[in-house]
């Protein structure tokens, strides 16, 4: 298992964000949104959260997703990773339909 701290990431929503806030932010701000179940592996980490977990993809290379630390809570972060983007597109189960984009 990897460590998210070893990757270069940007915080989109600060620590203490709720899962609902993270999901709503992704759904509202990203044209390409994929949904995965808890335990989905991303950047060598198992994603924690209340299903469905929304992942936002932008510029074809960046993924925004919620990340939870046991003691500290949840924050929304963005990491660049072309290979992970392609893997999400192939393995995530559902994608937000164009008609739902706000």
């Amino acid at each position: 298992m990897g460590c998210i701290e070893s990757l270069k990431y940007e915080k989109i929503l600060p620590l203490g964000a709720s899962f609902k806030e993270c999901r709503e932010y992704v759904e509202k701000n990203y044209a390409e949104v994929w949904y995965v179940e808890p335990g989905y592996k991303l950047f060598d980490e198992y994603i924690i959260g209340l299903p469905p977990i929304a992942l936002g993809i932008e510029e074809g290379t960046k993924i925004t997703f919620p990340y939870t630390k046991p003691c500290h809570g949840t924050y929304l972060l963005r990491i660049e990773g072309q290979e992970e983007v392609e893997r999400v597109r192939k393995t995530a189960k559902t994608k937000k339909q164009a008609g739902n984009i706000r």
Partner: protein, 160 residues
């Protein structure tokens, strides 16, 4: 009197951040009770909470198996760990997220979420997955929460 329940049960106890004192006492209590009833018990949490338990139980009388939470989740995903009973102690939003994740990963287990702390009701309201819940506004005194846990687990205990 020890009520004979669930022999050969495999239990996982998931602990949250150790900042609320009752969790430590109740983790030892529940682990001890399950072991007395023949269950194989694994306790998981962050390194700090596991460290507190190991110092409190230096001879491993109550807790014999521990695993860091991230490793435990990885092993459950990879089918290296399983259980018939999962008890999650939750006093913050992160712990509810972990509970949701584990509920999803352990669909066949009896699943109990113990929600406690200064303001447990809003946290309990976040639970939208199938499980049994025990909710108690408590930080320091474990008596009431212990009684509720006994009731849910069907434990008959002497008044001591």
């Amino acid at each position: 009197m020890i009520d004979p329940v669930s022999p050969h049960e495999k239990a996982i106890i998931i602990l949250g951040c150790p900042e609320v004192p009752v969790q430590q006492a109740l983790a030892l209590y529940v682990a001890s009770g399950l072991r007395d009833r023949g269950a194989d018990v694994l306790v998981t949490g962050n390194p700090s909470v596991l460290g507190l338990l190991k110092v409190s139980d230096p001879k491993s009388v109550y807790i014999t198996k521990t695993l860091v939470l991230e490793t435990c989740i990885a092993e459950i995903v990879e089918k290296k760990q399983d259980c018939t009973l999962c008890i999650v102690f939750a006093h913050n939003d992160a712990a509810i997220a972990y509970a949701a994740t584990l509920r999803h990963l352990l669909p066949g287990s009896r699943f109990i979420v113990v929600v406690f702390g200064k303001d447990p009701e809003p946290l309990a309201a976040e639970i939208n997955f199938p499980c049994e819940t025990i909710v108690e506004k408590v930080v320091h005194n474990p008596a009431q929460l212990k009684a509720k846990i006994n009731k849910v687990l069907g434990w008959v205990v002497s008044r001591v």
